[in-house]
Point group: C2
């Protein structure tokens, strides 16, 4: 690493404390890197990758480390390439509704900069106040608003990346349309840093919706909340968010951060509708009446403070769940939304079968349920049961026509399960593509697929 | 071909007339295949590909042959694999807003089937009454509504394909979200049949918008029409279509099919706004006032017949242009929409420089201009000048931050220009990916990249 320090003076750290801190992310995996490098421009990224390529050292690109599937966790001896210093919003082109950002820009910082100009970048991972846009691209992050507006992939027009041989590549276009050549842009989106390092992102943005209404619907029966999800979309309404929490989630949140959620409810839906002022209130009424007809108590957040409180409650879910147990295995399965009631029933059965507590919340509108198996990593037997339960959850998900990850990605955490969903032919093609980009296998090894 | 006839009795034709007819598409290129095969299911497609793989024969998948860049034109001696017989809408899942179709389904047939259920599939290539969804996937087709709703890629959730070794592969998901593995689905979308044969398509659909308003705005100055495009989106309005025609286009259409367009106008915008009834009329007024302030005469199509007449005029553009000259070189460049006035100025200069007539229309809202260089293929000198003009058009486009194809694809027609836009590294990666899928190079050779 001395050579690397010479090449990039002041950017390379091998301090024990730093190596330790950069070995983690928001998942429960960790590994010790050999160095942490913080480049501030594309040229510097290129130098690091060049060095790694020459020395056959693996590189783990890292944003804010908020990922749930250990995409940013280094294998022993890797270089962690932290892009936190490349955090400039380079351009907001109001005429063409295109922005250009560096990968280290925090999601909510872009949101705020755009809102001031009446513009809107929809993808809103729950960690939006901390996570970086580069990380969002690497994981193809979603968020509550994905229901109406889609995920990160749907906004990325083009990328500048550094390839595993150190060369700089620009993919895609800076316009809203373009079909020249294979779609390398969307191949790199969601590739978890295994193909290239993203150094610049060209994003499409939208006009800010005129108005937003937020509804809280609490249900005395879990199943009725799930039915409401189906009925709302069947009524041809696609709200911008349709979030779901079960009883255990509500109680955990209330104990963690008293936000006024009704602790006696079996389930709640947090629904947000946006658009032109005149239609928003009309649709909100329709949604309220569907939920009420299924026995829900409906309240409308009538000011910005009430709205914020509800979203604070929603964003507190993940930390709050640690009040239930010291560890959790956090999945983010997706099933066709009409299959949510059936999936919840099966989750109850799995919970009984393995004698583990399962807590569910998530983006019910698009069928994306965060299934949390509560456990204690230190109790060997309980943890084994929890892991067995995961397999059953995935099997049930796939049988219902779903997928084992909606937005968290695969990383290290789920690499061994990928074969449950993808056929050997799929995996073979993906590994072939990986080799085309990264013949030496230095880019974030062990993520997405188990190492052969 | 005798062996293939034995393997698939009744599906293989080697009749001279058929070979001739299947050697064309809507571009001006043609080639003679050795056989035309019309499979009716995935198993049969697999058998054809198997045969081709064993015999090192190239295969050209074909929908309705409406492509503008000769993606479906066979090289001499290829098998044309016509998917017109696989034309079933397999499922319309109203609860989950997902449909499953075979590749031979005509775009407008799906549109109609969905509209009856209050659903909506936005991509609407101008050839929608003839083109197939499989062809749309192969070319990542757009259309007027792409401005607000995006292109084919944005609606494809997953695919069933037959790989060049005859194996069947399912990619992607049947849900609205999913991030497991690399995005093979969107890699295949837009790959022009060079990676695999699409045999089943899983599409996301939307609720049908409540109302649509259609405006015709005619301008005495070309430049003002271009300015209006920028001003409308700058006012934070994204209409569903924002179509542009110049004077020559209007006149050609009127001579071809008298539809009542004002022949004395320098340019027109055909604008459609959709959404909730209350907001549509509000936005239509704003749009009208922006156009009027730039000197436009604005009229609103007040019934379904008036709307249809306007869209018939728009759809007649391509055939109508042949009244101007017997051949045309039809490009579909995209520039950032704020650069449209500058691009139109440069097109005028190029027209003068090479003494060729250039006629422009297209999807101005997303900066996608169909540049038609009018010429006569039989006049050698004139045609050469037209071809030289194309190069200048592409150079100007790229300098303004645009792309040389927005929605028509590359095919044979533009393969030699790809290097103007894509760097050698981009092309190298794409060729590497092609090799992973198709090591023998049997899938639609010569398309997208020139043959080495």
């Amino acid at each position: 690493m001395k050579d690397l320090k010479k090449i990039l003076p002041g950017r390379v750290s091998t301090e024990a404390e730093e190596l330790f801190c950069y070995g983690f992310d928001a998942s429960s995996h960790a590994g010790l890197p050999c160095a942490v490098v913080r480049p501030v421009n594309t040229g510097e990224v290129s130098k690091v990758i060049d060095f790694a390529y020459m020395h056959d050292t693996s590189v783990v690109p890292r944003g804010a480390g908020t990922g749930m599937t250990s995409g940013a966790v280094p294998l022993e001896g890797s270089i962690v390439l932290s892009l936190e210093g490349m955090n400039n919003i380079l351009e907001i082109d109001e005429k063409n509704l295109v922005v250009v950002v560096e990968p280290g820009v925090i999601n909510s910082r872009l949101q705020e900069a755009l809102e001031q100009k009446g513009l809107f970048y929809p993808p809103d991972p729950t960690s939006m106040d901390f996570c970086t846009l580069g990380g969002n691209v690497a994981e193809n992050a979603g968020g509550p608003r994905a229901l109406k507006y889609g995920v990160t992939r749907d906004y990325v027009l083009g990328l500048e990346v550094v390839l595993p041989n150190g060369k700089v590549l620009t993919t895609g276009v800076k316009t809203h349309k373009g079909v020249v050549g294979y779609d390398l842009t969307r191949l790199i989106v969601g590739s978890e840093g295994t193909l290239a390092v993203v150094t610049k992102i060209f994003l499409k943005v939208l006009p800010l919706p005129e108005e937003t209404v937020t509804l809280l619907c609490t249900f005395p029966q879990l199943n009725d909340a799930a039915e409401a999800v189906s009925k709302i979309t069947y009524a041809r309404i696609i709200p911008r968010t349709l979030e779901f929490m079960d009883r255990e989630t509500i109680q955990a949140v209330e104990e963690y951060k008293s936000t006024g959620l009704p602790k006696d409810a079996e389930a709640l839906l947090l629904i947000e509708e946006d658009g032109p002022a005149c239609s928003v209130s009309e649709n909100a009424e329709k949604i309220a009446s569907i939920c009420a007809s299924l026995g829900a108590k409906v309240s409308i957040a009538d000011d910005i403070f009430a709205k914020r409180r509800l979203w604070e409650a929603r964003r507190a879910v993940s930390p709050a769940l640690y009040r239930i147990s010291p560890s959790k295995i956090n999945e983010d399965i997706v099933v066709p939304r009409s299959k949510i009631p059936e999936m919840l029933r099966q989750l109850k059965d799995i919970s009984k079968k393995y004698n583990v507590k399962i807590v569910n919340f998530g983006h019910a509108g698009d069928g994306n349920i965060h299934v949390n198996i509560m456990t204690d990593r230190n109790k060997e037997d309980e943890y084994r049961r929890a892991e067995d339960a995961v397999k059953d959850v995935f099997e049930a998900t796939l049988k219902l026509g779903g997928t084992i990850s909606g937005e968290h990605g695969i990383g290290l955490a789920k690499a061994r399960y990928v074969g449950m969903e993808l056929s050997p032919e799929n995996i073979e093609l993906m590994k072939g593509i990986k080799k085309v980009f990264d013949p030496k296998g230095i880019m974030n090894p062990g993520k997405m697929f188990p190492i052969d």
